[in-house]
Symmetry: C2
Subunit: 451 residues, 2 copies
């Protein structure tokens, strides 16, 4: 199986649609992975999409549906006939069902829930109440449950009997009559053990679990740290209410990374894909920080105003402001990015602040010296500036890089100590702070050396 070229398939399928050659469509699609078909459908228009979905075997349609973008799903759902929609909806895994319901317009949710079997409806309503980004919102209820007094043989028979509709059978849960977890056992262990062993003797009684209210980021941490493939979610009485599987965690990891990228670029984080997001939503996510940073940058302007006299006697000083500001900002961002990332991956803790400080001081002295030397040479050779101006600029450069790296290294740790999000608090603010600091140093040195 190979990665496919979406454009080629769209062309082929469109041709077949025009020719009403549904048999060939079905044949072409039978060769593809559901996710590839979904990718193709996402690029088609609504009319073509519904034709393709109707032509596919129902089972395949249901498979493909779970991979479609939210926009395409909603779109399709509103143009599909009731029977097909009902079939597809009930074929979805429970967690995909919940994901879909969380995204469709409110008036449509009730229609869809009515499609579910009666005994599932309460459960759906309960799951819809878990907050977004909580462990509860990631759960599925399709797991294999065993009893501790079963033999391995009986357990394997139960897996065989009930496993078909379960999202994973690779971890099984040993429950008592009140659904409290007494242990877990992997299918690996079941298959590798003697068939007459008793589950209680070989199950793991020590296992990780999450509460439904836990943040998905913490849950992802546990998965990553302990290489898990599934994690049980329990209520206050330790009763199993659902499980989380590793394939959803991969999505969580990417989502959390995206949020960090967005925060560090001074944006409000968003779940929505760029191409699907409305322009007002995009503008709203960006405007708050742009305003805050614009206002705070005026303080930097205030520093310039304060030294206006100095500047009017030596206008040439102005020419180096962009370079000093940019280099300071870049130097600070380098450090803060490494620290924020290191903290996100659990490699850097609050207690490490002394090592960070000491490391940044030494690194910044190296980097600052090199920059100052290169700048001095450059200015002596190319610029028409006086020796004093050259010294002022290079000295400022050196001090700015050192301070920028110290601020960039410590601010994220300080943010965390104050229980603030390092990515939000430290990322966007570093440039503003470093700008002000570097200009202040610049004019202070210039006041002594140049005047």
């Amino acid at each position: 199986m190979e990665d496919i070229r979406v454009e080629d398939y769209i062309e082929i399928l469109n041709k077949l649609i025009t020719e009403k050659d549904y048999k060939s469509i079905r044949m072409e699609l039978s060769k593809l992975h559901p996710n590839d078909i979904a990718e193709i459908l996402d690029e088609m228009n609504a009319e073509e999409r519904i034709i393709i979905i109707r032509v596919m075997p129902k089972d395949q349609a249901a498979d493909v549906f779970s991979y479609l973008s939210v926009q395409s799903q909603i779109n399709l759902a509103s143009s599909m006939n009731e029977n097909l929609m009902k079939y597809i909806f009930n074929e979805l895994y429970f967690d995909d069902k919940i994901d879909f319901l969380e995204d469709v317009p409110a008036n449509f949710v009730r229609t869809l829930i009515a499609y579910a079997p009666v005994e599932e409806r309460n459960m759906i309503n309960q799951f819809l109440n878990y907050p977004e980004n909580s462990a509860g919102s990631l759960m599925t209820i399709e797991y294999v449950d065993l009893r501790k007094n079963m033999t391995v043989k009986e357990a394997l028979e139960r897996v065989k009997k009930t496993g078909m509709d379960k999202e994973t059978i690779y971890t099984c849960y040993v429950l008592d009559q009140t659904k409290r977890i007494e242990g877990i056992i992997s299918l690996r262990k079941l298959v590798l053990s003697n068939t007459d062993e008793i589950i209680e003797d070989i199950m793991d009684k020590d296992f990780f679990h999450a509460d439904a209210g836990d943040d998905q980021e913490e849950v992802a941490e546990i998965f990553k740290k302990y290489d898990l493939s599934a994690l049980p979610v329990v209520d206050k009485e330790s009763r199993l209410i659902g499980i989380i599987t590793v394939d959803d965690i991969v999505d969580v990891i990417e989502q959390e990374n995206t949020e960090d990228f967005e925060k560090m670029a001074a944006m409000a984080p968003s779940d929505e894909e760029y191409l699907e997001a409305g322009i007002f939503k995009l503008a709203k996510a960006r405007i708050v920080w742009l305003l805050v940073l614009m206002i705070s940058a005026t303080f930097t302007g205030g520093i310039i105003t304060h030294f206006e006299e100095l500047l009017s006697t030596a206008v040439i000083l102005t020419a180096f402001i962009p370079m000093l500001m940019d280099t300071g900002g870049n130097a600070g961002n380098q450090s803060s990015t490494l620290i924020i990332r290191g903290m996100a991956l659990g490699q850097i803790e609050r207690r490490d602040w002394r090592s960070v400080l000491w490391k940044e001081i030494r690194v910044s002295l190296i980097a600052g010296s090199i920059l100052a030397i290169v700048n001095t040479l450059r200015m002596l050779i190319f610029a028409k500036a006086s020796l004093m101006v050259t010294i002022t600029v290079s000295l400022t450069l050196m001090c700015t890089v050192v301070l920028a790296k110290i601020i960039g290294g410590l601010l994220p740790i300080a943010a965390k100590a104050l229980k603030l999000d390092p990515a939000i608090m430290a990322g966007p603010l570093i440039t503003t702070i470093v700008d002000a600091v570097s200009l202040f140093i610049y004019f202070s040195i210039a006041g002594v050396l140049v005047l």
Copy 2:
């Protein structure tokens, strides 16, 4: 099982080491996950670390070893006696063995390889030759192989017999006599099928695979897209040479994200953890881009020099330079970050450049207008600037935001079209380009309105 507090355990263990109470140490450690013990050991000094490793049962020591940081591993390896090192080395899964060998000093590699069984040594040398970050470097050789004429019952017996030392038994590979893959079958399917079915009839003949030379990022894409738990790696003759499992892919995803963070913050990407990296290595990763950006920022300074006359008649214009530069930089970074991230996740393709352009124009008009209005009000109320200066600044702000967002949106796509890395080429450069553009606009408008 709960997440543990490393500090508490270090204290307890240090006390027990002083008291030479090895029995209690063993008991304390028996309650912990190997990864937790590794975390504790990473924080201890070399002397304590070797004591703890020696006290542990050998099996546990081997488990813990694979989770340790590279620094601790190398450290331990050089102070451990030969027998223990040999035992631990041979207990490691094949891919962990290779990871370890890739990190130890060259002179030590030969000693370690000599510890391996003779029949494995050739394989080790071959695997060490796969380039870093290639599919080959992620592989393990511990997989279960089946024959297509087996029954399910025979297959399950083979899994049971050979599965104990395999990294995963959840995907099994059906090979012919020359090791060519004829199909794959999941343990799930084996367990859920009737015991007398023939493997050939139920195995998947359509499956994804990678070549040993493929980039790990591409491999991770396939895992994410198709929710795989393992992927076979084949040679040119389609013979199976190893498999990649999903737990290693989670690490690859985080590593690739870290690299993107580093590139976008103008650093050379590095595999090493911050706290473990030497200061010269850190300085080296940062200095190149700092130099490039410093030099290019002098062109921005050149624009100022060009308008020196204008500035000396209206020094007040200087006070708004930081605000304009910062806001432009922030606006551009917001857009480029969203686009670079969207491309990394496969949500935005080259063909989407028109949608991106149209979206950024509209979003930037909204954001730019709000910023310009707020700025006008602020300057009218608080600043001592003339009306003409106010209009100049607000108009520049508007134009800068629009241009910054267009550049930020399109530059990453252009970089990709030129087969350059969007994160490297677009991230750090946006600020510099936007700075120059915004100052040019500023002085051009000022030349008309203010003079």
